[in-house]
Symmetry: D2
Subunit: 356 residues, 4 copies
């Protein structure tokens, strides 16, 4: 109810602040008997870490996942899985200077207004560090997806105004920006470098594709599969837009263009992005998230203090230039969580259907 | 859990099929003592009706709302409000011909696959007629918003490739397309007319603006105000994309452009669309929804029958050319529902904050 | 969230006031393909009607159930089922005299205090008439149970201080009090007659037994099967106590008496009432509900008016002498709803368990 | 959804197994600004520890609570509070002998049947050790209650067949059994001693009383305050019955006895146990829970192995003779959690009531 829980049958609750003792997640509703251990969590968590990508912070986030419950002899037991990641290298002193300033583009102002108190160290609860819990939960979901042979990939469709023109899935992990177009990736590198020197930051677009999702995921009306993707992705701090299939482009199409003709072998086009009337149609699911530029920039900005007097702020220190590519695995995790939740929901109903 | 319920504290459950006896909604969690009567519901419901706009169906939907519970002597009592609208002019015979065909762009295929049974008359539960319940509930929410002096307007930002260039709120109700730019509205009329003659249909973009929302609406992490807007709007059948403030454009901006500087008098720009870290910042809230073209078109399309043999379909009969402008009041209703829900959630917590 | 919804996967929302236009329920989450029609609902609803039992009111509640959604060609479609029962014979004028008096034992005082407004006609929302919706939903649940071969019976264990000493299931429907002990039933009749003449009322105990429930219903910790029964039954207005198996008697037992020994053929005793650690163990499930006397009595009682001045009240008119036996089918319905909800929840998880 | 979460606005999720690395709880929805630190949690947790009471195990549960999130500079921030308690003295080896045996009265059989896997060490998730998380959460709730001046006491009404005849709140903490009747407490000691020597165990009744609860807690229909108490208490492993006010005794009363007359100064009796139509009436709230005897006994019992062959079991080792008095603070915590949840729910609505 307080917004820290996501999912209905496969339900996660993240907890923790950027510079508190730890961050993590409780995963509740994972079916029993699934193979699970800390290495599985760690592997997905490592993809969220600042890598060599020049967009990334140099903060050392070693992020060692520990499983404290819900797993016995290498398998899930059906009870809640608590995953715990200690906060290390948390130099909260570095944030002392912003304790009484509202950083533009951050939640400092709204948290203070809403709660009358906030943990200002590194953004506290509003920090992107909260996504550690999401990715750890996503790793649990991924084990269920694996069993169902469903695969999810997230790639960088655009960064700093450079848009991928081609899609080669093999290329994604061969460049620092997780871009499926190697040539675009090179242009992104140039742009990132330019902006980094300027003390500024960049936005972009992440596209998430799901293969092998069965027909029938999603509930009518409010819990449409696309509605849940929209909420899942928009709940990531930096995301300002979500679209499915043709998305905003569909607004400019005619019905005869946008409708996907159906043949006995399946749909002939995929403007629907694999979802019809909120329910997966068996086609590839395609979702995109618009990611705003990182708000912490070295360039001086106008703002106010907590006492509402005006001031200027220039944010030095270790910050990413773009949420991409680190945010990609977070998007992938969120999409995975939605799919596993709907898998369980579909099963609950489908097994009850009387055989005629 | 089955996707027919929306909201947490102010909670609605819609029910009903397009050609069943009735459609409607249960509104649960409405505070007591709010002025309520059938005329209030009717007024908002009438805005959803096919009007003179040339995009609209000629189906006669008189839609008389009846309140069956939760209101006593003209005021809400805090108990569930059941709103009931009889289905009239429901010529289900007209649909007999599509009983065994999956219409492209509709939910026929996915509903059949998921449930093994579907009410094929007019789309059944997947019909846009389900939004009658949403708008009726939105009318209840609007009474709460009125008391808080919060106003919401939905206008047509784009239709059939024509985009509004200016924003004059007074113009919205002076044209058939609810467009705030009178010149664009004229171009839209031309385009609609052309497409109608071609037996095709059109998409567009609806923008929803909220004035006077207090600071502090929205919960951290998953129930961010923008995440709930995304889900609310994406749950409308025709919507394929949602964005907040600068939205997808933010993906191409630099941080120094996108960040909204703060002054003692408030935010100097509004790329955030009135929401920071998922919590309203007191600025105008701006949300946009991409609406796909109506899938029911006269132009012949390729599809399959329920027995998976190929066929062609040309959908004659009474259908809208575009979901816009009838969908606008649905968008407005959904945004209103989200805001009232978060108003109640904020109050639950804020009144407990100890006075220092 | 406002307390009018029950269940998680099989979810019902009741609505309506005693003397408003109608009462009813939305059933959401019913699996598709289940046989359903108004006669099925009506049959269970008729068991809730005032019968020949001398405990019953003479109010004519014909209670014709209408299904307004969710059913197509005699089968459920998986979409919400709206059941609607018009209020007839609603002589609200008879209640005018109590509009400004708080009746002892009723919710008049607490509703007024909590909401600042109440529909005082016949208790409004707090009336036992709300249970029409529960029983109608129970009839839907019963169709699912039938398919699983699970049966539920509710019988009168005690009434007016008379306790059944024997249990003959065949006897239950052969007396007016639904008592499985024919001799006790005769004594109950005598007691009811005596109390009726005195203008007073009676309480009793209802026992609900479930046969053929599979092993494995119930979730650990908070959603234990017995915890959900406790909530389900205690949510009935007249119920003041709930116990499972040996119940309160277990408090006086030793472990060696209370533990049910296990043999290869099953449990040798059933003090557990069919539930171990909150999960059904395959044995018969036994739950009991303590029902308080009807608070509306002819005997004069001391009370206050809405302006808090003292007054006396003697409630004339058509009232039951005891909630039993009409409440029995309500108890049966609530137990059925809990079981179907947990059946669906168990299925959601069990189908995902990987085959070793 | 998987049963590890309790509450709607003030929501807790417990996690952890008896002999896993740790147990604990996430408390979500706690209002911001409440004084909070580890000593506050510890103080309540210490009351759950095996004390000097001769009913208690000699297992050393030092149970040091650590707060890992949601608290900043000694106050809650409105974000989730993760409380973590390491499992120490967890001699899982001692349980190796029961890995393949179902202990009578325990959840071994049902967990195995439901999940196909179970952490058999000390009962795993079904262990009473799970209540560490409940009590820790109860300590957070208690801080909110303190601010509202609401007090809760739990006392032992009966143990081993000995029932308290008097109620002296000052006496409760002056005997080992938390009994408000010092003479009964002495008799309890005798009975406990006798049963302990016999290798058997005892049940009893805990009564929980709430003072100063405001009028208006509880929602109509399903989320009645008493329904939520019933669920809260019945969700404790050892509890087999719950009653409110007169409870099961009300079943034998007449209406004229059971109704509480109302005077301008309040209710003249309290058979209702402070709750009318599911909503608190301002009177003292009285709830009772029937506690079954501890199932782990030294006396030999008949049972089966996991392969369903018959065997005998005699449970040696460190086990409580009765859940009382350690369970009392768990009952107190659960009642406190329900009250805080309803306090927040009431506030959410009441602040919206328009001023006439």
């Amino acid at each position: 109810m307080s917004g820290n829980t996501f999912g209905k049958l496969f339900q996660i609750t993240t907890w923790g602040e950027s510079h508190g003792p730890a961050v993590g997640v409780v995963v509740d509703g994972c079916p029993p008997g699934i193979e699970m251990n800390e290495a599985i969590i760690q592997k997905m968590l490592d993809r969220r870490r600042p890598g060599k990508a020049t967009t990334s912070t140099s903060r050392k986030e070693t992020d060692q996942a520990k499983i404290l419950s819900g797993v016995f002899e290498g398998r899930t037991t059906g009870t809640p899985i608590l995953i715990f990641v200690e906060n290390q290298d948390a130099r909260s002193g570095a944030y002392q200077s912003i304790a009484d300033v509202f950083r533009p583009g951050h939640g400092d102002f709204t948290y203070q207004a809403n709660y009358g108190i906030r943990d200002w160290r590194g953004g506290g609860r509003a920090s992107a560090r909260e996504t550690v819990g999401r990715v750890a939960a996503g790793a649990v979901a991924a084990q269920v997806l694996k069993q169902e042979n469903i695969t999810i990939i997230a790639h960088t469709l655009a960064l700093g105004g450079v848009r991928a023109e081609t899609f080669d899935p093999m290329a994604i992990h061969e460049n620092l920006f997780l871009c499926a177009d190697p040539i675009a990736a090179e242009k992104m590198a140039v742009e990132v470098d330019r902006v980094k020197r300027a003390g500024d930051s960049l936005g972009g677009i992440v596209e998430i594709r799901v293969k092998n999702a069965p027909v029938g995921l999603g509930e009518p009306v409010f819990d449409k599969l696309d509605a849940d993707f929209a909420k899942a992705l928009m709940s990531i701090g930096a995301v300002k837009g979500v679209e499915i299939g043709a998305g905003f482009a569909a607004a400019g199409m005619r019905g005869s263009e946008n409708n996907d003709p159906i043949s006995p072998d399946g749909f002939l086009t995929n403007n629907a992005g694999g979802i019809l009337a909120g329910i997966s149609n068996g086609d590839e699911i395609i979702v995109r998230a618009a990611v705003k530029p990182i708000p912490s920039i070295r360039i001086e900005q106008q703002t106010i203090k907590t006492d509402h007097t005006p001031t200027k702020i220039s944010i030095e220190g270790r910050h990413d230039i773009a949420a991409i590519p680190r945010i990609n695995v977070v998007c992938e995790a969120m999409v995975g969580l939605v799919i596993v939740d709907h898998l369980l929901r579909q099963r609950a109903i489908s097994v009850m259907i009387p055989v005629p």
